[in-house]
């Protein structure tokens, strides 16, 4: 007993002493540099290191020249087939990235469409009623095991994807928009694709051209085994999606579905141990729950190649043998990017931490060099890390959209005035700057401003800067014009300096307005959206609208919104994915994708023929400039139709130790979106 009480005294003393120490610790000098980027608001915080001590930099990693990255979850699987199939997760992506090869890719930072293993842009020809795309490949690229990457690998992967009807993300790789696309190896290094319709941005550039290529010599047996499952299985004549099938038809459909299911499962389950890589690193080891180890690929085709970009848009690649490829400009103006490809570190360890807190604690301790953080860095962690020595923070705009959506199938959400009144009274700037202390940024267009190429800077922002009085008055006007009326109109009381809420609001159809609910994540899941939700319903109530916030779990929102399309309003956010080709304009607002009709993602049920026409053209055009115009137009149209009212976008802050040199740090969505954050980053070892 005595010793125990002594222990408590000791602990108490320690607590006190360390609190005093913590309180007295000197804070390092923080300097914020604003880098003027292309449309992208980027703040780069550079910490002037206060005499970086030698041992600080070397930390533990010196022994093996290891580039140590912190992640939060295990990959689902190292099997690339599974990764693009049901096993997709961002964490898997980090661990398997580079395993696959591709004919084309996107340029660093600017996301331009550029060749990877293709020698040049492809030629597109119309032959009769089909279109062919012929791609010539480089002939000296090899897999990590020394085998050449050739056209047969390309065709093998494409066929496996389409023949086995691979699921999840695969269809976009071999059959975008449901097209049947053929692939054929004309010779060892020439591939020809056959399209049933004119290739568009969505089907070619953002689709098949960037499809992964996997090594035939490694996967041939597995894929052959999968083919065996569907050998001789023919598609039933009956329409399997029909409601009432005859017993025979049902059996046929089941057999058919089962055969393909088994074929796919065989592929997804296959053991990827030893699979060769085409990228800078090969995934060598995966200790579940602890770490994944990647080792440098000596046969990496782009090792030592130089990438240069100019501010006129030029992208230039020089391979180690001196071959140069250039596009999008004449190489005039300033170099905005110039780096040489790695891999630099012989090993990468991706250390798996159970939580953000643990990972950043490890970063502060020097246990890892960099923490991949797709979830966004919490404020407290950032502040803390910025105070730590030897840590740099990089802030970038996020490619995401947080919004409030209206169920336009229901009255009165279907009324434009109603939605406009909401748009008017929602004072995003107030919530963001005053309540949330600027942790997020107000958003006006459905395209995040960070995506410079597609973002339309001219989307009108008519309500910015209005006072609360002006907002209420304007909203009242708009509603009145549409036929709404009050028994007691809301008004601004000068003496109270507050709004006197309206009462007895009658809708244009003469009925009293009924209660509406705004579904949204609770403060436990996302305090920012919860705060917005509460403010919005408060403002709506000031107008006399009986609106209430329902803060609930994410899973509870899913059902009414994405399955039953039975809700009034909701607040959620999207992570938008494809930077180069924003096909979400089709998914989210095209009338054919109405959730209530097709179970797709047009949750508000927007049904506008004008808008549909724009989207259709956008999806089928192969002309980038035209596509940009269309997206500009769609943004303006959506700002007027208001199926969503965009609320805010976030910024991603990445933290890394200052012994890590990234090829570039300005990138939409954060550092982990930079293609080269593994291969091209240089850890500076002692």
């Amino acid at each position: 007993m005595y010793s125990r009480s002594k222990w408590f005294v000791l602990a108490g003393l320690l607590v006190t002493v360390s609190m005093i120490l913590a309180a007295c610790a000197p804070e390092p000098v923080v300097e914020t540099v604003i880098v003027p980027g292309e449309e992208v608001v980027v703040k780069e915080t550079v910490i002037v290191p206060a005499e970086v001590e030698e041992e600080e930099v070397s930390a533990e990693g010196e022994c093996c020249d290891v580039y140590r990255i912190g992640i939060f979850e295990d990959p689902v699987s190292l099997n690339y087939w599974n990764y693009l199939g049901p096993g997709s997760s961002v964490w898997t992506a980090y661990v398997v990235t580079g395993v696959q090869a591709a004919l084309y890719g996107l340029s660093d930072q600017r996301w331009d469409f550029v060749p990877s293993l293709a020698k040049d842009f492809a030629t597109i020809e119309q032959v009769g009623d089909v279109w062919t795309v012929t791609v010539e490949m480089v002939d000296n690229a090899t897999w990590s095991d020394g085998e050449v990457i050739d056209a047969h690998d390309v065709v093998f992967t494409h066929n496996a994807c389409s023949d086995l009807k691979l699921t999840s993300n695969w269809p976009n790789q071999c059959a975008p928009l449901g097209l049947t696309i053929g692939a054929e190896a004309l010779d060892d290094f020439t591939v020809q694709y056959t399209f049933p319709a004119e290739p568009s941005l969505g089907t070619w550039q953002a689709g098949v051209a960037q499809a992964p290529i996997l090594p035939q010599h490694f996967w041939a047996d597995t894929v052959a085994a999968s083919y065996a499952f569907i050998d001789g299985v023919t598609e039933p004549e009956a329409d399997c999606s029909a409601e009432d099938l005859s017993e025979a038809d049902q059996a046929a459909c089941d057999t058919y579905a089962e055969a393909y299911e088994n074929a796919r499962k065989n592929l997804y389950e296959a053991d990827p141990t030893g699979q060769p890589s085409a990228g800078g690193y090969i995934t060598e080891k995966w200790e579940l729950g602890a770490f994944a180890q990647r080792v440098a690929n000596d046969n990496y085709y782009f090792a030592g190649s130089r990438v240069v970009e100019y501010d006129d848009g030029t992208w230039m690649l020089t391979l180690p043998d001196g071959t140069t490829w250039q596009a999008y400009g004449d190489a005039t103006g300033n170099e905005i990017l110039n780096f040489t490809s790695g891999p630099y570190a012989p090993n990468i360890i991706m250390s798996i931490y159970g939580s953000q807190d643990a990972a950043f604690l490890a970063l502060a301790d020097g246990e890892v060099d960099y923490v991949i953080n797709p979830l966004g860095l919490a404020r407290g962690l950032r502040e803390q890390a910025e105070r730590g020595e030897g840590i740099l923070s990089y802030t970038n705009a996020d490619y995401g959209l947080f919004y409030i959506a209206f169920n336009m199938r229901e009255y009165p959400q279907s009324l434009p005035g109603f939605r406009q009144a909401f748009d008017i009274v929602i004072d995003k700037e107030f919530v963001i700057n005053n309540v949330l202390a600027g942790v997020v940024f107000p958003m006006y267009s459905t395209m995040p401003p960070g995506n410079g190429f597609w973002h339309n800077p001219d989307v009108p922002k008519p309500y910015v800067g209005l006072s609360r009085e002006e907002r209420v008055n304007m909203a009242v006007e708009v509603l009145k014009a549409e036929g709404w009326s009050w028994s007691a109109e809301p008004y601004w009381d000068e003496d109270l300096v507050d709004v006197v809420p309206g009462e007895g609001l009658t809708m244009p159809n003469g009925e009293l307005m009924h209660e509406l609910t705004i579904l949204g994540p609770g403060p436990a899941y996302d305090p920012i959206r919860a705060t917005f939700n509460q403010w919005i319903s408060e403002w709506a109530r000031e107008l006399g609208m009986p609106v209430k916030s329902e803060l609930t779990g994410f899973n509870t929102i899913l059902g009414p919104v994405f399955v039953d399309a039975d809700f009034d309003m909701y607040i959620l956010g999207w992570s938008l994915g494809n930077v180069a080709f924003p096909n979400y304009y089709d998914d989210f607002w095209h009338s054919r994708n109405d959730t209530a009709v097709s179970g797709n993602f047009n949750t508000p049920g927007l049904n506008s023929p004008e808008y549909d026409a724009l989207v259709d053209e956008f999806m089928s055009t192969g002309d980038l400039a035209r596509a940009q115009e269309l997206v500009y137009e769609m943004q303006i149209m959506l700002a007027d139709l208001r199926p969503y009212i965009p609320l805010f976008y976030k910024q991603v802050t990445d933290l890394a130790r200052n012994n890590l040199l990234f090829p570039y740090t300005t990138v939409l969505g954060g550092l982990e979106q930079a293609a080269g954050f593994q291969t091209d980053a240089q850890p500076l070892f002692k």
Binding site: A378, G380, Q384, N434, A437, P523, A524, D526, T531, G553
Partner: protein
């Protein structure tokens, strides 16, 4: 004297109404129980802490209506615009500082207290009702009913509580009422029912039960009028343990972000975590007050439970 006056005569005897007799008896047994309880300083400490939190909770609405400006001090929507940076350290204006979203921590702490009490009491009440009913019925009828109910109790007792709550929290909206009911059912059907039943068995063989049966009382009447009141002490004891467990589970679920309670101690810590202040000990006021409140209130109920145990359970009484 005529025959009609006879009944009046018997009634006119000044007799204490039954309820008053019961009340008096209850009071006197309460007094002696209290004397026994008061012998135990541990129980008194626990009770003191509970009373403190009770006052703490009661003070919140008073403060909100007098000293505190609701715009600044509202526990859920408040925001102190005067302070440039949140979370701000404890100051005269905010004795326990403000949280990441600029809300007063003390106000949140006080506001949550009443919910913790309500949750604990509700869960305890549910447990008590369920357990007493099940225990009494099982003991009274015996046989197949007893067997079925007790197997069921064993099964529920086997349920790993926290994992079940976590999966329920993940799958559905769990607010305070739902949590109280789930906990009440799981506790009530499980361990508590088993304990109450064993007590009920000893009550069942008491002569007054037999007397009531001979007098022709219905089963319902006997169970609820005669057995249940005698099971209340043990039930009350287990209520105390339910209260502390309920509060602890709420805190853990809220900490994982699995409840939809608008403000609670667990949620305060959850917000701290979401904003990345969990491992930052320089902003201790975001983590410590709520954690200490959970710990002390749970401990207090547990201490009272233990002290009551000594009152209710004669084996433990000191000589």
């Amino acid at each position: 004297m005529t025959a009609t006056t006879t009944p009046d005569a018997t009634i006119s005897i000044p007799e204490v109404p039954l309820w008053r007799a019961r009340l008096l008896m209850a009071l006197s047994s309460l007094r002696s129980s209290w004397a026994m309880f008061a012998e135990n300083p541990i129980g008194l400490i626990g009770l003191g802490v509970i009373v403190f939190y009770g006052l703490f909770a009661a003070a919140h609405p008073i403060l909100m209506n007098t000293v505190w400006d609701p715009v600044v001090y509202d526990p859920v929507n408040g925001f102190d615009i005067e302070i440039a940076f949140h979370p701000s350290a404890p100051s005269m204006r905010h004795p326990l500082g403000t949280d990441v979203l600029g809300r007063d921590v003390l106000s949140q702490l006080m506001f949550s207290t009443r919910y913790e009490f309500a949750l604990g009491m509700l869960a305890a009440l549910a447990t008590s009702i369920v357990a007493t009913t099940i225990g009494a019925i099982s003991a009274y009828y015996g046989g197949v009913i007893d067997l079925l109910l007790m197997r069921l109790a064993d099964l529920v007792y086997m349920m790993p509580l926290l994992p079940i709550l976590i999966v329920l929290g993940a799958l559905m909206d769990i607010g305070m009422i739902e949590l109280a009911i789930v906990l009440g059912l799981l506790f009530g059907f499980g361990g508590t029912a088993i304990v109450v039943k064993s007590q009920a068995l000893s009550v069942k063989v008491k002569p007054f039960i037999e007397a009531a049966r001979i007098a022709g009382g219905s089963d319902f009447h006997i169970i609820f009028k005669h057995m249940v009141p005698n099971l209340l002490p043990i039930s009350l004891l287990y209520m105390m343990f339910t209260v502390n467990t309920a509060i602890a589970y709420e805190a853990i679920l809220s900490f994982f972000g699995l409840t939809t309670i608008e403000m609670s101690w667990g949620l305060m810590i959850n917000v701290t975590q979401v904003f990345g202040y969990l491992l930052r000990f320089d902003t201790w006021w975001l983590l410590f007050p709520a954690s200490i409140a959970i710990t002390t209130l749970c401990a207090a109920f547990y201490l009272v439970g233990r002290a009551l145990d000594e009152v209710v359970n004669p084996r433990l009484r000191r000589r």
